[in-house]
Every structure is written in structure tokens, then in C-alpha cells.
Symmetry: C2
Subunit: 325 residues, 2 copies
Amino acid sequence: MNKFPNKIFDIVQEDLMAVEKELYSIIQSPVNLVNDISVHLVQAGGKRLRPALYLLCARGGNPDPSSELLPMAVAIELIHMATLVHDDVIDNADTRRGRPTANARWGNHSSVLTGDYLWAKAFSAIATGAKQNMLKILTDVISNMCEGEIIQLQEAFNAEQDEADYRLRVAQKTADFIAASCELGALTGGMDNRDVMQVREYGYAIGMAFQITDDILDITASAEQLGKPVGNDLRQGIVTLPAIYALKTSTHREELRRIIVNQNMSNDDVRRGLEILYETDAVEYSYTQVSKYLQHARNSLPITLNGPVREALLSIADFVGLRKY
Amino acid sequence: MNKFPNKIFDIVQEDLMAVEKELYSIIQSPVNLVNDISVHLVQAGGKRLRPALYLLCARGGNPDPSSELLPMAVAIELIHMATLVHDDVIDNADTRRGRPTANARWGNHSSVLTGDYLWAKAFSAIATGAKQNMLKILTDVISNMCEGEIIQLQEAFNAEQDEADYRLRVAQKTADFIAASCELGALTGGMDNRDVMQVREYGYAIGMAFQITDDILDITASAEQLGKPVGNDLRQGIVTLPAIYALKTSTHREELRRIIVNQNMSNDDVRRGLEILYETDAVEYSYTQVSKYLQHARNSLPITLNGPVREALLSIADFVGLRKY
């Protein structure tokens, strides 16, 4: 996906540059291979959406001047990186964001270990500063994400999933972490309980919209735009919202079902599966759900939150809805 | 490996039973597969050496009556379990301690994710209680272990390693974590700095002796005793102390070198490699190194540490030297 326009992050631009610098610094290892893989992962970049949300929500409150925002922002991104590198091993992914994955370049074994290394570095970043309740929020969300990923593995090639299953899975593997990033920011910003919960709700809805968009783009964007093959989810038996909708509404739903449950899908199967999805209004339906979540995100922002931070958070909601790859 | 005789752990028997109970409790997941794999890992058991050492060292001091020993002991064992499940994925191991590994039973993907789940649960256990310096010790030792494992991967099938390389690698992947378990116990027990460092040195030496013994047993014990195939290290190109010694002293060292650097070792190659090791006094030499470390461990115990805890720690040193599988 393309980067967020810079202006969205204006208020936290300096913080984010410091995060970037600290990411390079904390992953430094005397072991060359660890260094190479970690640097590759930091360079692979991404949007830094989670630390940006954390920082914005913190700046949206009144963070204690003595409190350091950087360590938690760095920890959040390291955790995200660790999940990505392990996900790519699990998905056997060759490319991410148009670049070779760590597993494609250095093999699964080193990638698993580097993921573990990043877990440790994430907790190392916050070991000396984080409040206990914040640590607990973070560890809970990680175990939750792992559960979500395992459910996804377990339910692969299962055409009997409904929308509720899908929403639960997306919450666990994506939205809860984005929600937690916002919640942790709000807590650092010293917001009151009610506002913390509202900011968390904003993050949750952004996360849901974000993942559904990802799942739509997996079938509509070009491989070049995606930086990975089209129809990847289908090929891996991951049943996403458009597929669930088509399984319910398509006149070819039996054919689609047979394609989805086939663990040895050919390229032709994937192509035909996508064709069936395109024939329905699965994509429109899914975008409608994205819009609903984004509206919910906007509505969730506490009224006490105003000024440029509110604007930035609203712009993020707009942007998530607009992105085409 | 067989369990330690119960009497060694008499003083911390109750603590260890509480650890066992808490392990089952903390891994509980609403996701059946996560539960099944985690329970399998807890049941696979092992010696609980690291939490036992932590508890003994804590009880060897005067832990603040209000301090809870359990969370850190549980975290230490969970971290150990997470490393084991990922190691087995990396080594493609089918059995550990005579039981099928998680990866053999549930596949690599679920095993990687369950390892991640255990990382999160480990930090969750101590999120609300651990002192910051203790968290830092733990995260440092984990990133260190990952580096050690990656070095091991990188140096596989490399016959040019010397004893110093080996010792460094063993320190990173095994001894430092056992040292940290003791250090964390001593810190919880409120020992003074000098004693903490001595207890840490004890743990380090125990860890070195422990891993060298493991590496010896890999070539001398029967598959049945090991609960895994004999000559496993050789087959995977992991060059351990006996091999390094034989590469230096054997009249067949050129043949051994050719076997080690061959990434497609046949069973006959492994058998011949072991034969060459047996012909030298590689095993005796390695056991001499074990004895030296154990003597160093005994000498490292601070004089202020006495009574049954001292006896237990001395017995552990004896036991590590005696174990035959």
C-alpha cells in the first residue's frame, strides 16, 4: 500500500522520525545475519500506521511532559514487524510490498528466529518505562493475534464460514491491535476512561475497515499495485468477506465452494474463482462495510478531542476508505 | 533426559507444583487448537530446571514476603517452551523426549504461532509484577538466544569452527538463559550485587556443562534414551565439542571434515562420522570440560548461601555431571 500523505502525520512527524531512527538503533546486532534481516524488515517500511496512531492519540491528550512516547511507539512497530515476518513464513509469501520477503531471501529458519528476536527487542524497548497496565494490554493483544492467525489456518479451505466468523477473525488478527495502539496512546495522553474507550473504538473500526479493504484489494488490485500476487487469499483458502458474500449470493456458488475447498487450487481455479466474485456485487458490498466502519470510527472520536489531532484522525479514516492499493 | 531426583527440589517442591498449575492456567485459550498444542507442550514436561533454579536462588536469599515468586518462574518456563517449539520447527525434529513434537503433530505453521502465543503469555505473566531491571535481563537474554540460534544455523556444515566459537555459541543459546534464571532469583531474593553475580556465574557454568553433556549424549546415548535419533547434531551439520575435538585430533580428520561439510549426509555418513568420533577420546575430553564447568559452578556459589538451598544447588551440579541420557 502507498504511504499516507505526509500532512496527515504532520503533528507527529518528528516523533515518527525519531521512531525510525530508534528502530534502526534497537535492532542492531553483532550477528551480521540478524542485522541484515532486521534492517531489511525496517527498510521494507510500511505505513507506520500503528505507531502513528499511538503517537497521535497520545498527543491528543496531555502526556506527562516527563513521559517518553518513543519506547512504546517503537515496541508497537517491532511487534507488528515480528508478526509480519512470521506471517510471511506461514503464508510462504515471496514478496511483500513489492520486495522479496525475509523468508524468500534468507529462508524460513532465520526468519522465524528473527521474528523472535524482534519480539524480545519490542519488550526490551518498553522494559524500563512502560506502566504495568500498558504492558498487559500489549501482551493480551499479541496472544489474541496469535489465536486469530491460528483460527485462520484452521479454517482455511472451509467454505462454511459466515460473516460473523470473518468479523471475529479480522478483529483478532488486525483490528484489536490497532485498537490497542490507540488505547495505549490515549492512556499515555492521560485521557479519562470514557475517552480512552472511545479512542479504542475508533482504532478498532479503523482496523476493521483497513483489513476489509486489504481483503478487497487482494482480488481487485493488480499484482504490481499489491506488491504480491492477486487472489492470494483465495489460493491459500483464506475465505474473506467478498468470498463469503459470493458464496451466499452467486448463481455459481456451488462451483465457488468446490474451488475454495480444493487444497490444490490451480491457477485456472483461482482465476475462475475471482471471475465468480467479480460477477456478484461482492466488492461493492464489502466497500459498503468499509464505509460503515469508517463512519463508526469518525463517530467514535471523543468530543473532547479536537484541533489538528482530530483532523489527522479523521483524515486517516478518509484515507483508509480511498486507498486503491 | 530423566527428571532430577525429587529430593533436589524438596525446598521448592510446593513452588514448582504451583508453577505447574499456573502453566496450565495461563495457556488456556478459547481456541481449541491453541489449547491442544500448548497443553501438549506443558505435558511434554522436561525438568523445569530453569524455574527450579530461579526459585532456589530466590529462596536462598530473603525474598520480600510480599513478592510473588510464581509469575517470573512461570514466565521463565514459558520462554523456554517457546524456544523449544520454534527450535523443533527449525530442526525439523519429529520427536522430543520420546514424544512427537508439536510440528510433527500439528504442522510448522501452528507451531510457529503457538510459540509466539507463548512469548506473549510469558510477558503477560510478569506484566503486572516484574521490576523493570528484571524485565530487561529477560528480554536481553532472549534476543541473545535468538542470535545464538541464528549463528548456529549460519555455521551449520562449517568444519572450520574452533572451541572458542563453540563455547560462545553454547553460552548464547543455553548458558546465558540459565545464568539469567539464577540471577533473577538472586535479585528477587534480595542478595547483594556481589552474590547476585556469583549466583549468575554458577548458573552460567551449569548451563555450559548442561549443553556440553547434551552434545555428548547426542552421540553416545541410544535413540530410546534420548527420545530422538542418535547423531542428530552431526546430521544437521551442528558442529559440537566432540566433533571439534575429533577434527583436530583424529587420524581420519579429513574424512570427518568431508562428512561434516556435506549437506546431504546419508545415514552411512552419519554412522561413519560417529565411528570416527568414537575412535578418538573426544567424549572423554568433552566430559573433562563438563567437570571443569561443574567445579567452577560449585566454587561460584557465594559463601553467604548456605543450608538446604546450597545443598540443592550442589546436587544439581552433581546430577548434571552424572546424567547418562
